[in-house]
């Protein structure tokens, strides 16, 4: 691993420890990513709070965000975040088959609504074909979502993808040494 996670006992900031505990309850991220970030406590607190808020809060279905998050991690080539699962999404009924379908040919999959398919295309297109995420694409999105929900989705996609790209390179040595 490029940067080793701190040991739990090395993290003494109570606010940071509370955020790490919230992450561990959700399962996304588990303790590894927060303990790497904990080397820069101010960053760790801001970034973990944003990860949690963007994933769990807001008005877009958490289960859909979880399917998108895993799709994004696969796009980013990050096995760490791709392997994590939200305990809350599981409790809400999200299963592994649906998660896998969100990274496959979801356009033809009857388990997703038209709105969910647009959100899945949004995530896939953002980093694979951003030139196709244009005014016409957003106009289509507004038939399914409010502007607030589209910003919620866009910010969620951007933030989680960015952290996955970071974790891909930080975690690279762990894979090599495994």
């Amino acid at each position: 691993m490029l940067v080793e996670p701190l040991k739990a006992e090395e993290i003494r900031d109570p606010e940071l420890n509370a955020l790490i505990a919230r992450c561990e309850v959700l399962g996304v991220p588990d303790a590894v990513f927060p303990r790497i970030l904990a080397r820069v406590p101010a960053y760790a607190k801001a970034l973990l709070r944003a990860l949690l808020v963007s994933h769990v809060e807001g008005s877009v279905d958490h289960r859909l965000k979880e399917v998108i998050r895993v799709q994004l991690a696969r796009t980013a080539g990050d096995p760490y975040f791709a392997g994590l699962r939200s305990a809350r999404a599981r409790q809400l009924g999200l299963n592994e088959e649906t998660i896998a379908a969100g990274s496959a040919r979801f356009e033809d999959d009857a388990r997703f609504t038209a709105a969910e398919k647009w959100a899945l295309r949004y995530a896939r297109g953002m980093y694979l074909n951003p030139e196709k995420v244009d005014a016409a694409f957003y106009a289509e999105g507004k038939r399914h979502y409010s502007e607030a929900q589209i910003m919620e989705l866009g910010a969620f996609i951007a933030f989680h993808y960015g952290m996955q790209v970071f974790m891909r390179v930080v975690g690279a040595h762990r894979q090599e040494g495994a």
Partner: protein, 85 residues
């Protein structure tokens, strides 16, 4: 990280550590990841700076003219640099 993450390997790691501590590597990596994610998102939203380079408040239409309505993507910029040698 943005264009060729596979090149951030053990050799790159060694070079990085000659200049930066673990704390600074985390700080840089998280900052870069955040910007990779958000700048692509912002690029799809078709918005421009509120001020011109000389500090005037300008409309979005004028700002698009000043800064360019279709900024080159990283890939296009990189391809052009490669072609230009």
């Amino acid at each position: 990280m943005a264009l060729d993450p596979d090149r951030i390997d053990a050799e790159f790691d060694g070079a990085l550590r000659r200049h930066y501590s673990d704390e600074e590597i985390v700080e840089l990596g998280a900052f870069i990841g955040f910007n990779i994610g958000y700048h692509t998102f912002f690029g799809t939203l078709d918005f421009y700076p509120m001020s011109s380079p000389d500090g005037r408040l300008v409309s979005q239409e004028e700002s698009a003219r000043v800064y360019g309505a279709k900024p080159a993507s990283l890939e296009k910029t990189d391809a052009r640099r490669t072609a230009e040698g």
